[in-house]
């Protein structure tokens, strides 16, 4: 594997981890936000 490809694959891995990590947290915490949003 070329060093250029390896570099971008590592960057991709990090970006995907951040994306799915934030998606997980937002899904869990968003339920309570949604309850507040509809409750007021």
């Amino acid at each position: 594997m070329s060093s250029g490809a390896l570099f971008w694959l590592l960057v991709f891995g990090l970006a995907a981890l951040v994306f799915f990590g934030i998606a997980l947290v937002v899904t869990i915490r968003g339920v309570s936000d949604l309850r507040d949003f509809l409750g007021k």
Partner: protein, 493 residues
């Protein structure tokens, strides 16, 4: 074709749930602020979900997938640029914090507060035209994606797309931003899951070594170095960064999430955390595109390669989840765009052509009608327009028609006391000129004189629009301080 009965059940169940939820939410709409900015009570997590869902449509997957297929890893730079730009906006509150403090509902409203009603009208027209042209190609790309993944011909697809647009128009018309926020949350969860399914399927079926080899053999250095790739280079990088910064702060569908936030502080946090997801938003579909290059080799239709890969490797059952995820992504984007552009046309164009605003109820009624008309336009325009260059660059150049002038007017209006009406007019008109020139002349580049051919380079047209808009604002304002004294702002929060 892997699309089976279980996939159909999942897709239809998802569509029905969207309709039910969207229509149910209309009970929360009590007034204009409720309809357009959900009563300004959106908290951080909900704000992030609705923002990400708005900014991720099937068209996003297709144009990024296309870039991955034709440019390899080089395009990944776009994700990094977008992430830096959006997190910067979130961290500093650049523009969005003050817009939220002013309690405006659309960006052109700012033009009236800081400049004049006529500038609001001009800004509203440019924003509306740029926005609707930008949105015009979404359906075409959704069609490409779904036909490759589901394996249907154009007839069946037209029916699916029409049903989807009708559903979105109905719930957006009825529930406005309330429906959008609620459905966006569900759509965010579904689309993130769909993306996870697709990414895992790609990682299982296409090994990383073959991806690296395909990029190296097909594209050479241009596949890993954005500055060695003729499609990109420094002009492109500069344009995309400035454009992402401007779009981050000023693109109405996205900015409306800041305007709907509970407070200016929440708006900043929503932008910061959403900004962090933007590297993945670009790189994940691009990675699927690069994998399609390894899987099929070069030579396929660039827009169809990535969806064809997913259609071939995602197993039945999961394919239904993926399609539901893509429909979710599209619907959340359409609904936000429909509300954004119908609000702008109603409040900033139709109402501004009169001396006074309409009453709230009339504004909501006209906005609903306009949303229906835009939905019909989408179906027609999406079928016949031939898209120049890659979709990615088309979207950025139509966006630049508005964002360049808006950046000049709003940034200068907030942070430069000398900004005045003449500067605002010059900025809006000069900012729209270069992208408009590109769109009009791009198809007849063979007959253009040599000195004018630069305008058919999408990257140059894009960056030029920002330079012209800034020049227009600075020169126009400085040259007319006596005749047109600047007006100052009063913040409400």
């Amino acid at each position: 074709m892997n699309f089976g009965t279980i996939d159909w059940v999942l897709t239809i169940a998802y569509l029905l749930a969207s309709v039910a939820l969207g229509i149910w939410a209309r009970r929360y709409v009590e007034n204009l602020a409720g309809y357009m900015v959900a009563g300004r009570k959106v908290k951080i997590s909900l704000g992030i979900a609705t923002f990400v869902a708005t900014e991720l449509g099937t068209v996003t997957y297709v144009y990024y997938g296309e870039l991955g297929y034709v440019a390899g890893f080089s395009g990944f730079i776009i994700g990094i640029l977008a992430m830096i730009a959006y997190t910067l906006v979130g961290r500093t509150g650049f523009i969005i914090e003050n817009l939220r403090r002013l309690r405006v509902m659309t960006i052109p409203e700012f033009y009236e507060l800081r400049y004049s009603r006529r500038i609001r009208l001009l800004g509203g027209i440019i924003l509306f035209l740029g926005g609707v042209l930008n949105m015009g190609i979404f359906l075409k790309f959704d069609g490409i994606f779904l036909s490759e993944v589901m394996g249907f011909g154009p007839g069946a697809l037209a029916v699916i797309m029409t049903i989807m647009v009708v559903i979105v128009v109905v719930y957006t018309i009825l529930g406005g931003m309330f429906s959008i926020v609620i459905t966006d949350f569900m759509q965010f969860v579904v689309l993130a899951f769909g993306m996870l399914v697709a990414t895992i399927a790609v990682l299982i079926r296409v090994d990383l070594g073959s991806i690296s080899a395909a990029v190296s053999n097909t594209l050479g250095a241009a596949g890993v170095d954005p500055f060695a790739n003729p499609r990109f280079g420094w002009t492109f990088v500069l344009w995309i960064f400035v454009s992402s910064l401007a779009a981050g702060a000023l693109w109405q569908p996205g900015a409306s999430k800041a305007l709907a936030s509970e407070s200016p502080k929440v708006a900043k946090k929503v932008f910061f955390w959403t900004g962090l997801t933007f590297a993945g938003r670009a790189m994940i579909p691009m990675f699927w595109g690069v994998a399609a290059l390894a899987f099929f080799g070069p030579g396929l239709s660039s827009a169809a390669a990535m969806p064809r890969l997913l259609g071939a490797i995602v197993p039945p059952g999961f394919l239904g989840l993926l399609v539901a995820g893509m429909l979710a992504a599209s619907m959340s984007t359409y609904s936000a765009y429909l509300l954004a552009w119908s609000s702008v046309l109603t409040r900033d164009v139709i109402a501004c052509a009169r001396p006074e605003d309409f009453p709230e109820k009339t504004t909501v009624a006209i906005t609903r009608f306009v949303a229906g008309v835009i939905g019909a336009f989408l179906l027609v325009f999406g079928l016949w327009y031939r898209i120049p260059d890659t979709a990615f660059q088309y979207l950025y150049v139509t966006g630049a028609m508005y964002t360049s002038g808006a950046l000049g007017c709003v940034a200068a209006g907030m942070y430069w006391r000398k900004a005045n009406n003449v500067g605002a007019y010059a900025s809006l008109i000069m900012g729209a000129a270069a992208p408009l020139g590109f769109l009009l002349l791009e198809k007849s580049r063979e007959v253009l004189p040599a000195w004018l051919s630069f305008i058919t380079d999408v990257n140059i047209a894009g960056i030029l629009s920002f330079v012209l808009a800034a020049l227009g604002m600075i020169v126009g304002s400085l040259a007319s301080q006596r005749n047109s004294p600047p007006k100052q702002l009063t913040y409400l929060e």
